[in-house]
């Protein structure tokens, strides 16, 4: 009995050890985003609260938590409050299977990739429910767009994952990383280059980020699905979006860029050895691309996003599944150690 209790407590501690840094990472990422986009726009970005504006994100959190949550009169109250939780919970739960370093993973399950797919697809229910429950036309349009978009990009994303699975021969994320060991050229970005691009762009689309941010579409439907949300309910959506973004950045690094592995040979001492910092550095670079996109690209129209998903990405992905199969069958790409 005591042993079981300890196990539960130990697991809870591990969960906290992931979620707390994640939430702080989201806060810092928001700050970094505003700073980077500011520089790209020849302005300064936040610089008032704390040294260099570093406390800006925390000030925003406090502001949001203190604000009133306004519920529209004809909204479905139950679903209205359920929606942000439905958006946030899968975004956080997905982190359970992310291997941060060799053996450093909360749940080292063999169906890790399937679990991830399930969790990332769940997030869209939060968005759809939010749009529907707020009983606003802008929100409904946003939910409609988001549903269509996520469904189409889920397919391309899934097919990109299939390629990785074929080459790695495993659904376990830690095994996928170890299958890439052997140096920069053994990582899956090389044999699966189009898939890495498809996966990342689908990830951008899944997280509703610019240039695919039609679900929010500021200049068209104001804020889309979360137009009626305020205060902490809005904060949950915000947190979910950024947690998802960081998740996609981590996943791209794990699936295609060798996860925690170092690009340098092991003889180079500290930087030659794989560690969490390598994963962090890779994810940071990938996450930077999100910001770069947002600062420079115009927004796609909703039907153009559909066209890109169905007519470009899915055919490429289908072909590359075949290519990956051939690469594997003829032992051109063999999983490392």
């Amino acid at each position: 009995m005591l042993a079981e209790l300890l196990l539960v407590l130990w697991t809870l501690a591990k969960v906290l050890a992931i979620v707390l840094p994640l939430v702080i990472a989201v806060a810092m990422f928001v700050y970094w985003e505003r700073k980077v986009i500011g520089w790209m726009h020849v302005r300064m970005g936040p610089n008032q609260i704390g040294p260099l504006g570093l406390m800006q994100a925390f000030a925003d959190v406090v502001k949001l938590l203190l604000k009133e949550i306004v519920v529209p009169t004809n909204a479905n109250r139950f679903l209205f409050f359920l929606a942000p939780m439905l958006a946030l919970v899968p975004a956080l739960a997905a982190w359970a299977v992310i291997p941060f370093s060799d053996g450093l993973v909360l749940a080292n399950i063999n169906a890790g990739v399937l679990y991830l797919l399930a969790m990332t697809s769940m997030g869209v229910y939060g968005i759809i429910l939010a749009g529907w429950a707020s009983n606003s036309r802008y929100a409904l349009l946003g939910a409609m767009r988001s549903a269509a978009q996520v469904v189409s990009y889920e397919l391309a994303m899934g097919l990109a994952l299939v390629c990785v699975l074929v080459l790695a021969g495993s659904l376990n994320l830690s095994d996928i990383v170890t299958a890439q060991s052997g140096g920069l050229l053994h990582w899956f970005w090389l044999p699966l280059l189009p898939m890495a691009v498809v996966y990342f762009i689908s990830g951008v689309a899944e997280t509703n980020r610019a240039p695919f941010d039609v679900a929010e579409g500021e200049s068209e439907i104001v804020a889309g699905f979360h137009v009626e949300y305020s205060g902490s309910a809005f904060a949950l959506f915000f947190l979910a979006e950024y947690a998802n973004m960081i998740l996609v950045a981590f996943l791209t690094s794990i699936l295609f860029l060798g996860g925690w592995l170092s690009p340098f040979p092991a003889t180079w001492g500290l930087i030659g050895h794989g560690s969490f910092f390598w994963l962090l550095a890779k994810a940071f670079v990938v996450a930077f691309l999100f910001l770069w996109f947002r600062a420079s690209f115009p927004r796609y129209r909703y039907d153009q996003i559909m066209r890109l998903g169905w007519k470009v990405f899915i055919p490429i992905a289908l072909v590359w599944v075949l290519v990956a199969g051939l690469l594997k069958y003829f032992h051109i790409v063999a999983p490392g150690a």
């Binding site: 726009h41 036309r137 349009l141 579409g217 104001v222 420079s296 796609y300 153009q304």
Partner: protein
């Protein structure tokens, strides 16, 4: 089965892309617009009536507030109407200054337009880049008139005063200091003409920068090519002018067709589009910025070589100098008369139009011989453009409506008047 109904959406007046106070009632079939019904009047201030209840010389300031992103062009139409009725003509240096400031205004307007249109379509960066250049030109407004926007710089009979011999400089502050301050003041060492010379030498490079972000961008093209096509016949039928008309391939420009101010003496081209879609209108406006830049350079060149009076010396219309008023009884009387009852304008009527950045801005004025106009009618280009909204956006998607509002370049100050 229950019948499927279209639903109605209120687009504005409080909407990030409504450009002021446009209220657009959209009937939507899913994402597709079935009917668009623009509602106007939320910014109506009765400018025409105000102008009719004031002496002729007191309404110039109202013109700035019509189209508040192309201020001096509206002033120009008004002062030219008064000049026509009075039968006076501004000195040639004033004509050149007006030409130069009309073109500065055109660049100001098009910068605002390129920024907000790009922002509406999701490209944030261009907006902030455009405002960086806008700031420099706003400083020119401020240098000649003391106001960044509502200048009241043109007066019947000329312009308020000559161009400053020293361009105002940034002063050191916690935000601008050291190398940053030196960079900001680099162009501002000499006169305003020197400043404009440096600005116009650099500006084409800045336009290249915007084009780099938009012209070749696949997403930008997908969002604008083939969207909101206006055929030349439609453009005529709707009374479109300016870039809306030229985007459809009709080379109509009042600066060329009915030259006013110094436009007959400067060299410039009229860019025209071919397809009449949002993309062509974008290209036309970008090309117009380059042409305006050309005109400004020519004006700077001319103004450097030809000093002279910038306003008439006729004190029945133009207020006398302050110094004169201290000694000269007559000057004092003139001043008093001008600022209390203004001047009487011979009975008659006239229409004066200028090529404002958005199209033909016209003032139709009737005088009955009193010191106030009997009737002032303002012809705002945006009003004619906006009225075509329904016909053009029908069958387009919601996101295209946003692109279309952007390409109309609507400013409610002039539409509601």
């Amino acid at each position: 089965m229950e019948e499927i109904r279209n639903y109605t959406m209120n687009f504005g007046p409080q909407h990030p892309a409504a450009h002021g106070v446009l209220r657009l009632v959209l009937e939507m079939d899913g994402e597709v617009v079935v009917r668009a019904d623009p509602h106007i009047g939320l910014l109506h201030r009765g400018t025409e009536k105000l102008a009719e209840s004031k002496p002729f010389n007191q309404s110039v300031g109202y013109m700035d507030r019509l189209d508040y992103v192309s201020m001096m062009c509206s002033e120009h139409a008004y002062v030219r109407a008064v000049e026509k009725l009075l039968g006076i003509e501004a000195p040639v240096r004033a004509q050149y200054i007006r030409t130069m400031f009309d073109e500065i205004t055109r660049i100001l307007n098009h910068l605002m337009w390129i920024g907000s249109n790009a922002l509406d379509l999701g490209a944030m960066a261009v907006f902030l880049y455009a405002f960086r250049e806008r700031e420099e030109l706003m400083d020119c407004y401020e240098a000649v008139s003391g106001a960044r926007m509502h200048a009241t710089y043109y007066r019947p009979g000329g312009v308020y005063r000559d161009l400053p011999a020293q361009m105002p400089q940034y002063r050191a502050s916690p935000w601008h200091k050291g190398a940053d301050l030196a960079r900001l003041n680099q162009w501002r060492q000499g006169s305003m003409l020197d400043f404009l010379d440096a600005f116009t030498a650099d500006f084409p490079r800045k336009v290249d920068e915007y084009e780099e972000l938009l012209t070749g961008n696949r997403i930008w093209k997908q969002r604008t090519v083939g969207i909101g096509v206006v055929s030349p016949e439609q453009a005529h039928a709707w009374g479109m002018t300016g870039p809306m008309l030229r985007g459809s391939g009709i080379a109509w420009d009042l600066r060329k067709k009915q030259p006013y101010a110094a436009y007959a003496d400067v060299d410039f081209d009229i860019p025209v589009g071919t397809n009449g879609d949002c993309y062509d209108r974008y290209l036309v406006r970008v090309a117009e910025m380059r042409q305006s830049n050309r005109i400004i350079r020519q004006c700077v060149e001319w103004l450097r070589r030809n000093p002279g009076p910038v306003i008439l010396d006729d004190h029945k219309v133009i207020p006398p100098h302050r110094e004169e008023m201290k000694e000269d009884m007559e000057a004092l009387i003139h001043h008093f008369k001008l600022f209390t009852e203004g001047y009487a304008v011979p009975a008659g009527e006239c229409y004066s139009a200028v090529e404002a950045p958005k199209g033909e801005f016209g003032v139709y004025m009737i005088s009955d011989g009193a010191n106030k106009p009997f009737r002032v009618k303002l012809r705002a280009p945006g009003f004619a453009h906006l009225s075509s909204m329904d016909e053009i956006v029908r069958g387009h998607m919601l996101a295209d409506v946003v692109a279309m509002i952007g390409t109309y370049d609507v400013v409610f100050g002039e539409i509601d008047r």
